[in-house]
Symmetry: C4
Subunit: 198 residues, 4 copies
């Protein structure tokens, strides 16, 4: 029951984060297609962040599914993740409104790194509680995708000061890699429980 | 359990979308009825979009009800639908603030088409997963209402450049057609399960 | 299960409505207590509307509890109620920002009437579905409190053009009357089911 | 079931409160790191309030867990708490935008006191309903942490007029004290029910 409430609260916050981003789109003053043009990069950026937040929701879903018992530590690690996720609308707006200028683009990457670190901390907290031999520890394995993303974000932050478009390319690449949900846990779950027709 | 969380998250996002639209209503500067007047088209537009989002929530409710098992594909098809739905407040505001000017009115129709396409993709994804002989495939049938709406939206987009009021009329017509929830699934469900006194 | 989702969606929308009203409070420019002063009527108004929305949530809770089976009609009657409730933040802001000027104060009453009518329609829709001999029909009875509120709102709307403070007094009175949750259904429920230690 | 809905609604409101605060962060006009600088105190303040709201959510979670039956009084005591919590984004924004000026900093403390009082009232309401010999009454005990916080807030309010930084220090201290969830209830619960592998 406790776990349900953690899920419900996280879902609520993530649902608000993903929807609040649309408020970054300003209603254009004019009524021509040209008036809509300045909103295009913001819209693109919104779509990118939508995918990122969607990925986090997806993986969070699988992660919490593997939690056996919610401790105080898990609750706070989860809130910590939600905190950094909640900054995504802010950096999305800043980057989008400034046509991918260096500092906003790097800041976007910074928040992405902090979200990723918060996610790893949440994973650790759960595994520490449930033991290294736990189901989750096995399912995560060496977490190559997570480590690659982290390195990619750092490269993107540095690249922003040379050419922000490289950073954007890296962000899209990482989003695409994660687009596919965390099959590791899903696969391990399928092996564990025989899927019934429900 | 997984299905519940997909429902809860979607409901959260749709609830925010439907409520955020009210923020498009600006608090009038004056205190006379005349000061309220510029908000009338925005209010009308809000009501129209409220019905549309309500229809999506209603049908989404029935659709997810028919899902047997949530896959990664279904999750993403669902997020894709939520993305386009989340643009409704933006186009609603643009159309309402500009007294149904051609481009905003056409853009409104564009987003409606994209929502409709996203809904069809979600249907397909679910049916592909559950088989053509599945309960849902039978309940949807030839999807005449869906196809009609799509054609109507396209006509409305074209008509916006001639006379936007025709487009508005078409939008109202489509909303009215869908006002009645997707009885197909409901009826099929009733045949499947004998309704008990709960 | 269907009923749960109706409840969850309504709760989501009502939770957003009740919280969005706080956005009407503008962060004061200065840092003195005097700078806070213009926000006092808005804050008072927020508190009033908070109680009203809280009352609706409370009664809605009891009402939906009595629903045996959700029909399309109940869904739409519920969405209709949510539509008018969603206008409360707008009229709350308008009335609060204008120190209870006649027209905004009357408009507030108008939205209150429309919410009350929508609530009655929802009640009717549920009772029509479940029969006059149903549990809910008996619990509602002659609905004196509902009828009194409706009359009170109409008086408040008229009074706003003479002296808005009379209207405010009436709104506070109605809020106080409803403050106590709909004991009728609660009492009837208690008679129906023996309260266990859970 | 009733209890579930109280939890769900409260979670919804708290999720919105915690996320809406991020809207206080203004998207900087420039694209330099310097342009981001004015947002630093707002961000710090957001983090502080995020922890406070997180603490309330955490403790609220444990508190409602101990509720056996939801009465009208508990519902209203809960809404009363949500009302004061909903003012946190407002005072957070005011304090953050004004670099911790005396009045905004004291006002922040005032809202904190009012939230704390509302929490105590909710506790009382639940205990009064369930009896002094109830599980919750025993778990709360003398509520030293609660009493200490209340005194600390009052000191912080007074200190704001001498040196606001003392107030900020006290707020951080209180947040840290509460960071650890209400172990009292958790511990008592563990003694009550043997933790199963779920």
């Amino acid at each position: 029951m406790k776990k349900n409430r953690l899920e419900a609260f996280s879902d609520g916050v993530i649902a608000i984060i993903i929807t609040i981003m649309v408020l970054n789109l300003h209603i254009p003053r004019g009524t021509s297609l040209a008036a809509l043009q300045p909103e295009i990069p913001i819209l693109f950026n919104y779509a990118l962040s939508f995918v990122f937040v969607g990925v986090y929701w997806n993986n969070h879903h699988h992660l919490i599914h593997a939690v056996e018992e919610v401790s105080g530590g898990i609750m706070w690690a989860n809130l910590h993740l939600l905190f950094w996720l909640s900054l995504i609308p802010f950096v999305t707006g800043w980057m989008g409104e400034n046509h991918f200028a260096p500092v906003p683009t790097a800041t976007y990457g910074m928040v992405m790194v902090l979200c990723a670190i918060a996610y790893v901390i949440l994973q650790w907290t759960i595994i520490r509680r449930q033991g290294n031999a736990s189901f989750l520890a096995g399912a995560i394995g060496r977490d190559r995708k997570g480590k690659f993303s982290m390195v990619a974000y750092v490269v993107a932050i540095a690249a922003a000061f040379v050419c922000p478009w490289i950073s954007i390319g890296i962000y899209i690449l990482v989003a695409m890699i994660w687009f596919i949900p965390d099959r590791r846990i899903e696969r391990a779950l399928e092996t564990k429980t025989t899927p019934s027709a429900e």
